[in-house]
Symmetry: C2
Subunit: 197 residues, 2 copies
DNA sequence: CCAAGAAGAGCACGACCGTGCGGAAAGCAC
DNA sequence: GTGCTTTCCGCACGGTCGTGCTCTTCTTGG
C-alpha cells in the first residue's frame, strides 16, 4: 500500500466517525482536514469532489459493517443462531459512538436525489436483504415456520433496531436495549416452528 | 392577528415543509427568504437568530402534530379504537411530503448539544409518551392485558413507524405500508386480553 | 387622517464553504 | 543516487452562510 492509499484510508476512518455524528453533510472538508492534520487542498486532492468523498465514506462504512456484522454473523451456524448473532452484532454496530452512519445518512438523503442517495439505497437494501436471507435459511433449517414472510420479518427487525437507535441516542433511555431485545424475542417467538409456552 | 404574526406564520409553514425534506440544518435563511418572497434581512428580523428560527419551527411542527394526530385521536373512544386511530393518523402524518420533521431532526441533533436538541427531546418524549398513555387507558378499559408493559409497546410501535418511514422514503418500497399495518396488528394481538386464534 | 411604531429592503461584514492552481517536498523505481 | 511521480502545502477564487446596520414603506390606533 503506497503512501497515498495509507493516508486516504486514515482520512476515511476519521470521516466515517464524523459522518456517524454529524451526517454526510455535516462532514465538511475544512474540519476533516483539521482532524486529519492535513491542509484543505491536500486532503481535497485525494477525493476530487465532495460528492466523491461522500461516496467513499459510504463505501468505507459498508466495509466496516461487513467486517463487524455481516461476516461474523455468516460464520455462525445457520438458522436461529445466525439470526440472533446478526441482531446482536447489529446492535453493537449501532451502539458505536455516533450510531450507525447509514441511519444518519438515510434521513439526510431520502429527499436529495443524486449519486449519494442511489449508493445509499443500494447499501441499505443489501443490509436489509441480508436479514431476509438469513431468515430464509432459518426456514430451510426448519427453525421457522415456512409460511413466515421473510421481508416482513426484515422490516420488523429493522424497526426494532431503529426505535432502539432513537431511544438510545436522542432520549438517552437506558432501558432501550432491554426493550429492543425483548421485542426481538417476541418477533422470534411469533415465527418459530412450534410455538410453545 | 397583526401583519407580523401573519407573515411569520406563513414563513413557518414553509419552513416546516423544508425541514421535513432537508432537516433543520438544510433549512437556510437565504433559501427560506426566497421561498417566502422576502428579503433575507426582512425574514431574519422575525426570528432573531437561526437557533430561534429552528426552535419556532419545532414548535410549529408540534402544533401541526397535535392538530393532525394527537387531538383527533383523543376524540376517539378510549382503548383499542383510540390506539388504532393514533397509529393510523401517525402513519398519515409521516406520509406527508418529506415525512415527519421530528424524525429528520432527531438524527440531525442527537449528537449536537444545545437548546434545539433539548426542545426536540422534550417533544419526542411527549409524542412517544402519548402512545404509552393511550395504551394504559386501553388496559384500564380491559382491552389489553394488565401485565402488558406500556413503555415496551410504545417503543415497539414507534419502531413500526420508523421502519416504515425508512422503507417508504429511502427504499421506495410500496409494500412498506402493508407490512407496517401487519406489524401493528401483531403487536395488538400480543397484548390483547384474551389471546384467541 | 396623522403620527408612532412595526415590517421589510438594501447593503455590508467576516467566516466558512467547495474547488483549482503552482510550487515544494517527499516517496519511489532503476 | 538520480530522476520521475506522487503527495501535500500556500494561496486565492467565487459563493453562501448567519448576522447587523440604516433607511424606506406600510400598518394601525387614536
Amino acid at each position: 500500500m503506497g503512501k497515498g492509499e495509507e493516508t486516504r484510508a486514515a482520512v476515511l476512518d476519521r470521516a466515517v466517525d464524523v459522518a456517524r455524528r454529524l451526517g454526510l453533510n455535516g462532514l465538511t472538508i475544512g474540519s476533516l482536514a483539521e482532524q486529519a492534520e492535513l491542509s484543505k487542498s491536500g486532503l481535497f486532492g485525494h477525493f476530487r469532489s465532495k460528492e466523491a468523498l461522500q461516496l467513499q465514506v459510504l463505501a468505507h462504512a459498508r466495509t466496516g459493517f461487513e467486517v463487524a456484522v455481516a461476516r461474523p454473523a455468516l460464520r455462525t451456524p445457520r438458522g436461529e443462531p445466525r439470526l440472533r448473532k446478526l441482531f446482536d452484532l447489529w446492535m453493537d454496530w449501532d451502539a458505536l459512538p455516533g450510531g450507525c452512519p447509514f441511519v444518519a445518512a438515510s434521513t439526510e438523503f431520502d429527499d436529495r436525489p443524486g449519486a449519494v442517495r442511489e449508493r445509499l439505497v443500494r447499501d441499505q437494501r443489501d443490509m436489509i436483504d441480508m436479514i431476509a436471507t438469513v431468515f430464509r435459511t432459518g426456514v430451510a433449517e426448519g427453525h421457522f415456520r415456512d409460511d413466515a414472510d421473510a421481508d416482513q420479518f426484515a422490516q420488523d427487525m429493522y424497526g426494532v433496531i431503529l426505535s432502539r437507535h432513537h431511544y438510545l441516542r436522542l432520549l438517552d433511555d437506558e432501558r432501550a436495549d432491554q426493550r429492543a431485545r425483548h421485542a426481538f424475542e417476541a418477533l422470534l417467538h411469533a415465527v418459530r416452528r412450534i410455538p410453545s409456552d
